[in-house]
Symmetry: C2
Subunit: 123 residues, 2 copies
DNA sequence: GATTGATATATCAAGTTTCGATATATCCTA
DNA sequence: TAGGATATATCGAAACTTGATATATCAATC
């Protein structure tokens, strides 16, 4: 299991949001599921990141009031904060991936030829 | 220009050392040259890293006394610390690259199909 | 009706990492 | 003799990471 660092976190979260609006908890489950449990983004990594994305205008947010069926109808209920990727966020995701490609290509240039020949390539 | 993070630093430094012994200053120049100036590992990143590699037994070291031709033959002269990759270091480099490949493959699974179709792939 | 586990958002503090600045000293060339 | 390159190394402020903690609801079991 690998704890995601900021760069990868941002790429992964934006990628998940590229397929439609979601919210913190669901995103973290999605990341674990789609990585076969290999990637983990914990609450303390997720929420500060989402706040950052919001401040940078890469996502917009709305609150959903989750009404309980069984309890007091006046109760505030659980709240869910939805994140929707903006056009700016979409562009940022593309940039992110392009940048990763560039870095990978350079990085691959450092891999010794002997290893590259055995299929150990990064790009 | 991109400052290398620890993971990438280790991979790049071990890759350089895979081609033969070298020393801090030369490695940093090699990194800048072979990345067309895109990667930079500054002294404050380089020396602690080399010390770490040494402590982990991934490299062995020897000091070279660089004798001056023109000055006092008794002068201590400049010292150069050579780093030689060990068998353990060689194995670690392979592991490093294999691990990167694995992470990249998973990461690529998050990239939206629409972007992957335009050639924006990470693995 | 009480307990448990899952859902859901969020912060804190301690630890680690990063990186520009600094320190020291030699060598070479103009 | 001054400046730029060579060479190793540390410091401290800022940023980042992450386990722990806090709060609260909901659903299912006991």
């Amino acid at each position: 299991m690998l704890h995601l660092k900021q760069d990868h976190s941002e790429l992964v979260v934006l990628s998940v949001l590229a397929e439609g609006p979601s919210y913190g908890y669901a995103i973290s489950k999605e990341i674990a599921a789609r990585s076969d449990g290999h990637f983990k983004l914990s609450p303390s990594g997720m929420y500060p990141l989402l706040t950052k994305l919001e401040k940078q205008g890469l996502v917009t947010t709305t609150w959903e009031e989750i009404k309980s069926r069984s309890s007091n109808p006046d109760a505030s209920g659980r709240k869910r904060k939805w994140y929707t990727m903006s056009v700016k966020g979409s562009k940022r995701l593309t940039q992110h991936i392009e940048n990763q490609q560039r870095v990978l290509k350079i990085l691959n240039g450092f891999v010794p030829a002997s290893l590259r020949e055995s299929g150990l390539e990064l790009a």
